[in-house]
Subunit: 153 residues, 2 copies
């Protein structure tokens, strides 16, 4: 996988970060995601464990759900942006739908299944965006039990 440290976020990653901030403002887990197809956002969302009492709506899952039912041909041309390294659930979903490219804001506060994704041919880029690292560190310090619940620990 590629590392591009301190790269300025593009408008899609900016939108994912906005979603993360929105989640934090709602008292939730500050992880956001955006699905881009043909240079347009077709779905965006953020973690809704607290807001919806959900065990499955991680940021990436919420974005995919909000994109609605799509044919394989669309997913296969999408880029998924996420503010945090995708866990095994979200990575498995990326593999199910054959999403070829994933841009990850950071993997310092949580390391997901990047190796699995890469081993299956997904193009993974990690940016180590400092704003996202700081937001997650702040959240984890404030609500460690909630964070552990979200990652099954």
């Amino acid at each position: 996988m590629k590392h591009k440290n301190n790269m300025k976020p593009d408008k899609f990653l900016e939108a994912a970060i906005e979603e993360a901030r929105k989640g934090y403002a709602e008292g939730g887990i500050p992880i956001g995601s955006v699905i881009m197809h043909n240079n347009k956002i077709i779905g965006r969302g953020h973690n809704r464990r607290v807001q919806n009492g959900s065990a499955i709506l991680h940021g990436e899952m919420d974005a995919l759900e909000n994109a609605g039912r799509q044919p394989a041909s669309v997913y296969q041309e999408c880029v998924l942006y996420t503010t945090l390294s995708p866990c095994s659930m979200c990575s498995g979903t990326i593999l199910l739908y054959g999403i070829p490219k994933v841009i990850i804001a950071e993997n310092k506060t949580f390391m997901g299944e990047e190796e699995l994704l890469t081993s299956r041919g997904v193009d993974v880029t990690v940016l180590e965006n400092q704003e996202c690292i700081d937001l997650m560190n702040q959240f984890i310090a404030e609500k460690p039990e909630l964070w552990n619940e979200d990652i099954g620990e």
Copy 2:
């Protein structure tokens, strides 16, 4: 992984099969799932792609969502029953939450990520239940495009 062909389904697999039948009766994809903890069903559900316009509510995901937010300590004592071999999304979710045991009614009509689950220490049993094989074959013959959409093909 273990194969126990033609084993009579226990009451938990029966409940998952009931869910699959319910999904079929609703015009949906006939896959059902149940989460068992301490010999009780704590969540059950079926694929809701058609019913909810959902891209993420496979049977296993619906059952997990219906089980609500649970601590890791509960998931780690659960058995997940599913009428069909779990795809990479559902398998990734099993891994996220550390569910140690998965009972699969059949993998003849679709082979999911059983090898990944086994390689990560999950106890996987496949029963090759004929009723589930017949129901899926009937559904795939009737609605092949819907089925392909569900598995990202």
